[in-house]
Amino acid sequence: MTKQEVMYKVKSMRRWYVGYQVSAGFLFAAAFTVALGTLLFFLLSCSVTWLWVVLLIAFILYIIYTRPWRINEYSILNFLDRHYPELEESGNLLLKSDDELNLLERLQQTKIREQFAAIPVQQKQFLKPLKQAALILISVALVCFVLIKVVPHDLHQIGFTGLHQSGTKNTPIEKLLPQIAAVEVSMSPPAYTGKPTRTQDKLTIDAEEGAVVSWKISTNIPVKQLALLFNYKERVSLTALNHDRIVWGARKKISQPGFYQVSIDGKLSDLYQVQVIKDQPPVVRIKTPKPYTYIDAGEAQKINIDAAVTDDYGINNALIVATVAKGSGEAVKFKEYKLDFSTSFNGHSPQYNLQKLINLPSLNMEPGDELYFYIQATDTHQQQSRTDVYTVSIQDTAQLLSMDGILTGTDQKPEFFRSERQIILDAEKLLKDKDSISTEKFKSRSNDLGTDQKLLRLRYGKFLGEESENDMGGNENDAVSDINNYGNADVIKDKYTDKHDNAEDADFFDPLLKNQLKATLTEMWKAELQLRLYKPQNALPFAYKALRLLKDLQQKSRLYVAKTAFNPPPLKLEKRLSGDLTKVNQPIIKQNIKPGVDQLVSLRKAVEILEQLKSGGGLSSKDLQVLALTNQQLSLQASAEPRIYLAALSAMRRILSDRSNIKPDDITRVEKAIQKTLTPAKRMPVAMQNPVDMGLSQEYYKNLNQLNR
């Protein structure tokens, strides 16, 4: 083997190696691309065309990573040295020129050359990466194939395009009139949807509410007249767009669902459905706070409103409408605020996540106040929707600190509170009359008022268990000092013990009430003093104060007054129903009530006739009438809900138009629609039937009766 041959062989080995590496890289890249493509197809339903780019990039990356061009002839020979012991680690000698070698090396070179000739050009190890790559590609392809087969294709539609799922899949094949060559229907959705105009070559319309639909129908022969007939009623004429009268056009705003037909020179086509996609009002969902939030004393007085607003087309605006309620009872005051979210709604995107932190004191809220708020959202179609009212209340600390409920078990109060007012009025009158009356009279009247004030004080003093005027001096008829009672322990006990169980003596009032009453008495004392000093002017402030305290006492508690029962006088039973009624006429009411006409009676009957048609029976004129009525009912239903009933209506039309050639499918379709339309029948009582037995059972009963006797 010459040196050139060796050189050539080593080079070809390198070529093989590099070739295998590159093809392995290609296979790796392909496996990666398949995996990525399947994944994207499922998750995002992307198209597959641009995957070529991915393939190329992956391939280049792999090549850069492995760098197969770096392998030179020496690397190949090193590899051979390691795998072929017969080369005796001297492969490198093979490529060296003779003058570089010493004798020993030259000898070795000649020896190795012969050995080298026996080594095959194709090395098994070179194939290894290629095999691996092929294996990976096959397994990846298998897995992806299984995934595509097993997992339903419209998986992505559920998650990503649920809103925009159009009825294109379920629409039946349309039958066009033979004159029609082409149809172009373009729909311009209204501005609020933010959708562009779209064009289709089908007559079935699936448009947003308020969309403008324009038809462009080309015929293959010139026609005189072309019109669209909506719901059998409304007629829209098309105008010829060119002189040949071949291309026709019309526009119409769609706001009602239903169906329509194309009429060419009076000939009507099949029915095409018109679906209207209604705009849904925006949906607002408040995540926080809870419907009722209570902020305790000491907690931060702020709430964080977190809400999500969604709409099918776009949100125009959303704001918080908050009302603050201050005070309680009849003194409650409301103040309304409108708070914006800091988010900008210029984008009109269909979904927003909104946050707002409300600092309650900034709304002038104090303890005891309540905040009511709701979120109102407006969509691009100016439809509004709002949430329920949420409540936030701050705990009232003033009420918390009051000891009212704790101290007063029951509130009771003295009977009369009137005369203090009288004393004030009299004192004022006295002051008025001061100039016109004599000094004596003035003094005596002032003194009298003082006496009145005293009496009043004594009366209130009784409630407090104060001693009365009588008790002040020595008591003549003191039972204890009576000689007759000497040694009578009961009398002494009676005088010097507290009688708790005596209802008259027991304390009516709780301490607070007593204190207030005592304060009242003090004021009365002072007023009396001034009156006795003939200074009614100075007495008035004390009297007013006493009155105010009395009023307070009055307000502290309210009396519950029980209802009194009414006791009717007893009935005299012998008089009952004994009146003379001979002149009273007996009322006789006669009326005829016709049961309400069942609107669906023709539909109920229609099934029998359809069954008859199915088995090939003929129809009477009455049957035809019922079928015509059924057709009418179905067209009513179809104009309301074309998606469900239009197929049945078309089937019904086919049945009515060509009775000699009825398809069972059409009948089934109509029957299905009838079943859907009908309301459940009411079950009314009916009589059972006697058996037709020439009175045999009657005889039996009679004989049985005689036996029993």
Binding site: L581, P587, I588, E611, A687, V692
Partner: protein, 608 residues
């Protein structure tokens, strides 16, 4: 053979070892018996392991069997009758099974005098063919039905609003669940699933919304395959309004709502309610005025149902009461008595003793219609309930089982007793359905039965094309009848003079009409050839079986020949022998052990 020898050798070795063990035992009591027992036990073991047979002389007929193959027969079942003569009536069997001789009619068999007994394989013959056999003895080998509906029943004649109830049994021998689907008007109405490898009853329900005749279908579905599609013809008639008489002690809501409900649905109502002493408020809705002050037979005779308060009915004059009683017991009027607390023992109430509801029972409770799987909305049951008595039929009860409405027969008529007095609450609450369900049931059960002149029924279970169908007419007068345009002649029943039989061979499937000369049209249904197959097979089998049992009595003695037959011995004998031998050995070991130990104890005592 190999197995037999191996088993024998093993048994022999076991026997030898066991015998040797017995012999070498120290206690040599009952050695002979023990050895016998061991040998018997091993022999019994061998008997269990090896098939034992013996030969006996058997008798057999001297000529080959005559076998008739009918549809559904299993070729494997013929293996025992190799040299027999095979006949068939079916062309497809002939094609499949070339040995069989094709007969045109069954007469050809009976004409052959050499045929003295017939073996029938498969599904058997139908009634008509069996008749043609002229009492030729038949041994029937039925083929077990694999899968299908084995029984079915449904209410073919419905009133408007009545529920269609399909009940039956289904045998599912496949390993997949089978779904039965009630299908009507292009809609699946109800379904039930039969578990694999089971025979189950099923029930399907639907209230048809239509009127007139319709054909619903019962589909048998497994996975995506439809195994069967059977027709369920139904006829729905409109309800004919009844005439109701209402007598109330005072104007009250209950009767007012009942009156309004009835009249709004076109029913005729006459109502009399006392407003003062001897003063009544009379109302006639959808009805001509009739005197209601005094009830005469003529007046009452116009009504189908009487709804009355107990106190009113009890305070009727003796003459009126007698008239009412006659009307009920003789003429079949129905009375719905609305109970009140008035005591007494009149014929109206003695079947329905009242008891007082107490405690929580007086609270509102769900009402249950007896015998129907229907629960009505909650209602306050009032303060009384009806105690059950023999001879009455409870109709409504509350959830604690207290009877609230009960009924009984009163001669020809019906007597119904209700302690409910506030069903109008349902109407006030807008629950018309429950109100309708309750009162429709009560009035339906109580009302006077209508008189009809004729009643048709089809006595053939599954009428099919080109098979005889027998139609039965119950009528007071005899007449020729027409099916379509074909005249039929009647055959009067010998025992019941009002029953007539007609026979008809339908030409095409579907609805067929039948009527007496000047009567009303009645409809019946003829099924397609492929419907209700399993039912028809079962019918054929049972007919043939019955025929076979009846014909066996006339089985004549034929000449017999002797033949050896191999009969295998039942293994149970071997098991019994083994058990006995082992029991003896066990007992013997125990007994000798006890003896030994007691001996030892004696010895020990002596030592001490």
């Amino acid at each position: 053979m190999n197995w037999n020898i191996t088993a024998l050798i093993i048994c022999f070795i076991v026997c030898a070892i066991a015998v040797w063990k017995e012999v070498t035992r120290t206690n040599r009591a009952r050695l002979g018996l023990r050895i016998v027992a061991v040998i018997v036990a091993v022999a019994a073991l061998a008997g269990i392991a090896l098939p034992l047979t013996y030969q006996v002389d058997t008798t057999q007929q001297n000529k080959p069997e005559v076998i008739l193959l009918t549809t559904g027969f299993n070729p494997d079942s013929l293996s025992r009758y190799n040299n027999s003569r095979l006949f068939t009536l079916d062309n497809s069997i002939k094609k499949r099974y070339q040995q069989a001789i094709l007969l045109n009619t069954i007469d050809e068999l009976t004409a052959d005098s050499s045929v003295t007994q017939l073996r029938v394989f498969g599904d058997g013959l139908d009634e008509d063919q069996l008749q043609q056999l002229h009492y030729l003895p038949v041994i029937f080998h039925p083929e077990v039905l694999k899968q299908g509906i084995t029984a079915i029943g449904w209410n073919e004649q419905l009133k408007a609003g009545e529920e269609l109830l399909v009940q039956g049994t289904f045998k599912n021998s496949s390993t997949n669940p089978i779904k039965l689907l009630l299908y009507g008007l292009g809609t699946a109405l109800d379904s039930v699933v039969i578990k694999p490898k089971s025979t189950a009853t099923f029930q399907l329900k639907n209230t048809p919304k239509i009127s007139g005749r319709a054909v619903y279908h019962l589909l048998t579905i497994t996975g995506r395959d439809t195994l069967g599609n059977e027709s369920l013809p139904i006829q729905i008639e409109a309800a004919i309004p009844l005439k109701v008489l209402m007598l109330t002690a005072s104007p009250d809501f209950e009767s007012r709502f009942l009156k309004n409900w009835l009249s709004a649905n076109g029913y005729a109502v006459a109502a009399r309610s006392a407003i003062s002493k001897d003063k009544f408020n009379n109302e006639f809705i959808n009805l001509d005025q009739v005197p209601l002050e005094h009830l005469s037979a003529q007046t009452i005779g116009k009504f189908d149902v009487l709804v009355g308060d107990l106190s009113v009915l009890k305070s009727l004059s003796t003459q009126e009461a007698a008239v009412l009683k006659t009307e009920v017991s003789q003429k079949g009027l129905g009375i719905i008595v609305r109970a009140d607390s008035s005591s007494g023992n009149s014929w109206l109430q003695h079947n329905f003793p009242l008891a007082v509801l107490q405690g929580r029972d007086t609270l509102a409770s769900v009402l249950i219609i007896r015998g129907r799987d229907q629960h009505l909305d909650k209602l306050n049951p009032g303060s009384f309930y009806i105690r059950f008595q023999q001879g009455t039929q409870p109709l409504i009860q509350d959830e604690h089982g207290h009877i609230l409405v009960s009924s009984t027969l009163a001669g020809n008529g019906k007597l119904m007793y209700t302690s409910l007095s506030n069903t109008f609450n349902w109407m006030l609450a807008g629950n018309e359905n429950d109100y309708t369900a309750l009162w429709a049931l009560l009035i339906h059960r109580a009302s006077r039965k209508t008189l009809v002149n004729e009643s048709w029924s089809v006595s053939t279970p599954v009428p099919t094309v080109l098979n005889p169908v027998s139609l039965q007419l119950q009528s007071s007068g005899v007449a020729t009848s027409m099916v379509g345009s074909i005249m039929l002649a009647p055959q009067q029943s010998q025992l019941l003079p009002f029953e007539y039989q007609y026979q008809y061979w339908p030409q095409k499937p579907g609805w067929q009409s039948v009527k007496i000369n000047n009567g009303v049209l009645n409809w019946w249904y003829v099924y397609r050839e492929d419907e209700w197959k399993s039912l028809r097979i079962l019918k054929k089998q049972s007919d043939t079986k019955n025929y076979g049992i009846n014909s066996r009595n006339t089985n004549n003695v034929t000449k017999q020949i002797q033949k050896k037959a191999t009969i295998s011995v039942s293994k149970i004998y071997a098991y019994i022998l083994l058990l006995l031998a082992c029991t003896f050995l066990w007992f013997e070991a125990k007994a000798s052990g006890i003896k030994l130990s007691s001996k030892k104890r004696v010895l020990n005592n002596q030592k001490l």
